[in-house]
Symmetry: C2
Subunit: 266 residues, 2 copies
């Protein structure tokens, strides 16, 4: 499982405050802890205030990039913020989070993806929002695939997020999501899938329990990458055990190592 | 999920000792606690000593059957123990655990199953032991289905246990089991599937964590019934949340009720 570490996200109050204070030590610790916990990418989201986001994202990249050995995932809906941040980014590998099947977004973002050889997350969402069936989502996946091909970006660089809709609003949403997860690599073998888990439990009690269970189900349906908090020990325990059980962890070495390092819950 | 409560099993030392002492109060409490925790069947296994098993199983049935409102699952490899216990059993519904695709076992057990209108667990195991591919297991499922049809027992009464082999002996065993789980009702829609989970983690550290993760994966692959300890709060929490996420819990009412009753972990 490719872990995209989600903690540095300025839609969270504590992160926004530290960002406003330019508390570089705070962000260095956040990044180091997440890398230590097994993150493969550190996601940086500088928030949604258009007036500040370009400068804030650039500052975050500058602070974090030289402190960790893992690449960054630049997370913004603002094309200019991504473009400016990429200009100062100094590692080979990078991920961009995210584009959608909307023309404007495709035209703005995919030339940058091509130029920087980035991996990119594509959301299965178009002008009409999030579709309500596997077939309709697969139609959007087809649009995302066409888009990357038009810009000569290989399918291997694309991670599809089929978009999680809360199961509390419609009890079929979990199943619909999981069926889409398995349909994507069946139809397009080079594609990988990714998601943030926590939206599934929106509106329900005991959300963390439900998010953990959803992690297991997603691994059981082939999820390749997850945008998660790698410091969540219980969540990571479900990840390690489910991957071992699905034969995705050679000789169960990942599970056994996590156990020996005391990183699994009982 | 149909819960077959496993605690009263004389292969466990504490149960064997209580059985030798004829400690009826102990067994009544064990049965009541499991029924209260949501068991749909209380499994009774009186151990494997041929000389004692007939009397021991009869005694257990007598002690337990009038104390709980749920039916019993009579669990023995000894045909005579099952036959004698069924003679004194006084509820309408009963489950028999288990028969295999071996001729001798089929001939001994299925007439009793037919006569008592029992539900019956069939193990996907034949004269040659546990087969190592989905196809070979499905061949054994076909033999089990032929067997029940030969004795005029409807397929709806048969629960197939595809048999869990520890993932520590072969990392593909989890996936193989899960693929068999989905293949069974696809090929034989009236059949249900059942398993004991805990064998999956044999030889691994932190077994309970792995068993819980396997519960989630099994629900994600359509498991209908599980032989479990319903007093295991963490395991049941995974069960409730995974069923809600798979759309198997209408309006998530089972999950929400378990939450309100304080039966879910955080």
């Amino acid at each position: 499982m490719l872990i995209i570490a989600e903690r540095i996200n300025a839609t969270r109050t504590s992160i926004r405050e530290a960002l406003q204070k330019r508390d570089s030590e705070f962000f260095i610790q956040e990044a180091l802890q997440q890398a230590e916990a097994g993150a493969h990418f550190i996601d940086l989201n500088a928030g949604t205030e258009a007036s500040r986001e370009v400068e804030d994202l650039k500052w975050l990249v500058e602070i974090v990039q030289d402190e960790v050995n893992v690449p960054l995932c630049l997370d913004s809906a603002n094309d200019r913020a991504l473009e400016e941040a990429l200009k100062i980014y100094n590692k080979d590998e990078v991920m961009i989070n995210s584009f959608t099947a909307e023309d404007e977004r495709i035209r703005a973002l995919l030339p940058i993806v091509k130029e920087t050889n980035a991996q990119v997350i594509g959301l299965a969402m178009g002008e009409g929002g999030i579709p309500q069936s596997v077939e309709d989502r697969m139609r959007l996946v087809a649009l995302l695939v066409e888009a990357v091909e038009r810009y000569d970006v290989p399918q291997e660089k694309l991670l599809i997020d089929p978009l999680v809709v809360p199961v509390g609003t419609d009890q079929n949403q979990g199943r619909l999501f999981l069926e889409t997860l398995t349909a994507i690599p069946r139809e397009y073998p080079p594609l990988r899938t990714v998601c943030g888990l926590s939206n599934i439990s929106f509106g329900m009690p005991n959300r963390k329990l439900m998010n953990r269970a959803f992690m297991g189900l997603c691994i059981g349906h082939g999820l390749h990458a997850a945008i998660i908090d790698p410091l969540d020990r219980k969540l990571l325990s479900v990840m390690y055990s489910s991957e071992a059980l699905m034969g995705r962890d050679e000789f169960c070495m990942g599970y056994l190592t996590a156990f020996r390092e005391g990183r699994l819950e009982k």
